[in-house]
Amino acid sequence: MFKRLGNVLKREILLSSRQFGFTAQLFIFLVIGIVLFAMGFNQASDAIRESVPALLWFLILLATTLVASSWFRDDYDNGWLAQWVMCDIPLSLLILVKQFFAWIQVLVTLILFIPLSNIMLNIEYEKPLLAYASFAIGTAILVQITSVTAVLSLLIGRSSVLHSIVTLPLTIPVLIFGAEINRAALDASSNANVVWFLMAIAAFVWSIGPWTTATALRMSLE
């Protein structure tokens, strides 16, 4: 069983490498995001500093959405997901593998990106570990949310109004908490307790997320 899950993971890796080094692309995307943001500011570097947490979290949201949106879509369109549903491995496990890999991809990108962004935006964390932890946890949550909504949008024939209605209330709190923690990591003065809250959310969504996604997927293939 684990060997087969490993093989599923292998296919994901193959695909992401075939789709032109997805991580590298994501990385460049993030860099461009920062460049764009800074370009507009005309060197008002104070304002840049203020908005760093929001900027980072916004970019991270876009990056995870990018990863997740193409995920299920290709394999749904070409019928591969029907093979998943029909095979004897529990669907939610398969989905878990896919989500896990997506998360890893985002994480690897961030590990490369955060130091660079620190140089480029000229920021120094008082508590760097806290910042990194918040990114890891936040992306974990976002991966779950986006995968559920990606499948939902397959279910409803990709008109994304519903999609967005579902996404908004789910993502905004995560992003806000994330940015808050980030600010705390920068200042050391603010309160970082909210990180526990984020961890609780992460535990919750990872325990029910794969199953929810599987259910939605089964329905969409009916």
Partner: protein, 256 residues
Amino acid sequence: MNQATFSSRFKRWFHQWGSPESFFVKSRFWEIIFGLFGAALLLMSWTWGLFFAPPDYLQGDSFRIIYIHVPTASAALTFYFLMGISSAIFLIWRMKLADHAAASLCIVGGTLTTISLITGSIWGKPTWGTYWQWDARLTSMLILLLLFLGVAMIRQVQSNSDRIRTVACFIAVIGMINLPIIKYSVEWWNTLHQPATLSLSEKPKMHISMLIPLLMGITGMYFFSGYLVIRQTRYHVLKSCRRQGWVKRLVKNGAL
């Protein structure tokens, strides 16, 4: 020479160089010349610049990084321009060789850009007190790097596909609008980065003992990078023609 013979001569020249075989044969000579000349100039420039040129009265010894920074920056811009031109040639005349050249220029140009960015920001630490500043020149240079990277990534998707080539060339051409932005960024916006000191029309503002090695460095960098480009292009030509008669003949004759 009248118009007709000129254009027919041009065509003949174009065809001769455009055919992979004759390019491969003829470029051998130029590859060696460029390589030797470039290496020699660079060597001279760096020994002079690093050991014999006087320290700057403001910056001390840190200014010596100029002998890497300026040559690479200047060559990077030029090489993007060349990449755009050869991409356009490929798009219009469908000349494979131009595409190979564009691919090689992309790799070499990207490397040059990276080096100039890194040396620039290292130099920035002692002079401006920071590695990175959101300054128009620096930012537009970063964008140049991103363009090089984008084109390189597209090429890496699939090496032998005509579609991929087309897209890569298309983007290279469109990206050329970035060049004037970089070049004139120091004039249009007031930036930290210093405006051009070197110009053909004006008297140099730099001390001659610093200037000469710099000029040598720039020329050397052009030639040496040109050597790398020719080398890479020859490799691409060989790879894409590996099943053709002339390559097999060369192999049989032991020429490769």
